[in-house]
Symmetry: C2
Subunit: 308 residues, 2 copies
């Protein structure tokens, strides 16, 4: 009825994707986090390796272990298991690392137990892990689990919609060498916004959704205009506004902060444009005194996967 | 180079369509406003018939005449013209009447002059008329001109996107016998909203757009949840909340206030359900002491038209 061991992998993701604070996320192909699970005697979760010295091995503080425990609870599984986490994503980078670990833990646990949980149940379990470090939102979790561009209409109840994106879409991720804790990046968000800002934000996210579904990359890019999180967080991110201007100049469809930052992202319509945008953004950060690394990636359209 | 006379017709529309305040509009087939135009000696616009005794005949206060004058100005036309307006839509009803008159005036003037203005130019001209009575927003103008469900990403610059809607979609319009001035309905809108409300609003409008484009009527309906305008305006609209509950009970996909009200609308997936919903809503208003009239309509997919 169960397997002897299971692996789960979940890709990184861009949260918010500009104006879609807590609502839009985009899965990024390539790097991701992997969780290996085996049974152990006694109940509960044990973390054999958290994947990075700065990540907690205590099962009730580790996002992957919390998510796995939630799956076990839903599945009525009493046995205990050991997790070995391999981090392919940076910590606190704004690349969806905590969400990827939580999702990988959830799908690994689901596979180990043969629990057969559905998408919403897996998301809710992963959310228990994510919420301990990043707040109660699913804009990284949902694309990490499902792939592609995902709209999170609601978390309670969970209501997520996968939006097909045009084949040509590529993303540029630029990571400046600085730390920004998710907690600090959330603390600067305004509690209240003007009605005009809310309306503009609604229009921009709706345009991004329409652009994705209509295959209109220019429209998708025009929607990447954030009047809530970006203005607040840009003050914490030296070099970002210059990098954004450079990205636009180099042909990006749109550019903003990935999740809570410090990573910046740009949407582009080809690998070639992506490389030009990446170079321009790295140069802009350098001019601001920050070393930055960049990559051009495809959209991960598969989402999380599990195997034995 | 010009025609001797021209007619313009524009259908009514539902503004906001729930959470899409100033951003979403839906054209309704059937009733609309018609503007007939002929030349007259001397410059400027003259209104021969405003279509209703309560509507101004002064050319600088009449939405159709203001829009027509804006078209003439853009086209460099120095001659004057006379407008005869036939109102098929109620005044101050929340059914897009002022917008329909403005759009009909713009397309009639464009046709009369053979000006060949593009969509954005026509919208900007119609906006000059609409702005004098209803504020600077295009969520009624855009569907009235273009048909269907239309997203207004931005007004300055004008950026509107027509969203195909599922064939089965029908709308129920229920008009309780009461007056609510657009000005009063706008005055109760909150100047500031919480970040959580803004995020929920973003998610709901995005879900409506996704539902329309994916052909998912249930999703389209789930998105009809307005946390900004509806709670504020419901206080001015006795019977509305009971009618909304009755609509849901009778099978509506979603229900909210049409534009600034007092008309309420419901989205339904068939004529039959629409008739049941209409009956239930009228009964709910009756129980609240208000006589209401209802109709079930198709979506107008053509928008404004002009002829000689």
């Amino acid at each position: 009825m169960t397997r002897d061991r299971a692996f789960g992998f979940a890709p990184g993701s861009i949260g918010n994707v500009g104006p879609g604070l807590d609502v839009l996320g985009l899965a990024v192909a390539g790097a991701g986090d992997t969780v290996a699970m085996t049974w152990h005697d006694g109940g509960g979760m044990t973390v054999a390796d958290a994947g990075h010295p700065d990540l907690p091995r205590e099962a009730n503080r580790n996002t992957a272990a919390i998510a796995a425990a939630a799956v076990f609870a839903l599945a009525g599984m009493q046995r205990g298991a050991t997790l070995t986490i391999t981090k392919g994503l940076p910590l606190s980078g704004g690349q969806g690392g905590s969400a990827a670990s939580a999702v990988a833990g959830a799908v690994a646990a689901n596979h180990l137990c043969k629990a057969g949980l559905d998408t919403n149940a897996l998301l809710s379990c992963a959310l228990e892990g994510e919420a301990t470090v990043a707040g109660r939102h699913a804009d990284n979790l949902a694309p990490s689990l499902l792939g592609g561009l995902v709209l999170v209409r609601s978390v309670d109840p969970m209501d997520v919609i996968v939006l097909p994106v045009p084949d040509a879409l590529r993303v540029v991720l630029v990571h400046p060498a600085m730390q920004l804790r998710t907690r600090d990046a959330r603390a600067v968000l305004p509690e209240m916004v003007s009605r005009q800002v809310a309306i503009a934000q609604v229009g921009n996210v709706a345009a991004m959704v329409a652009g994705a579904l209509l295959g209109d990359l220019a429209l998708l890019g025009r929607g990447v205009e954030d009047q809530i999180a970006e203005p607040a967080r840009a003050t914490l991110l030296p070099g970002f506004l210059a990098a954004k201007a450079a990205a636009r100049e180099a042909g990006a469809l749109g550019c903003s902060i990935s999740g809570a930052g410090p990573t910046a992202f740009a949407l582009v319509d080809s690998l070639g444009t992506g490389e030009a945008v990446a170079g321009a953004m790295v140069a802009a950060y350098a001019a601001a005194g920050l070393t930055a690394t960049a990559k051009v990636a495809e959209i991960d359209r598969e989402g999380a996967r599990a195997w034995e």
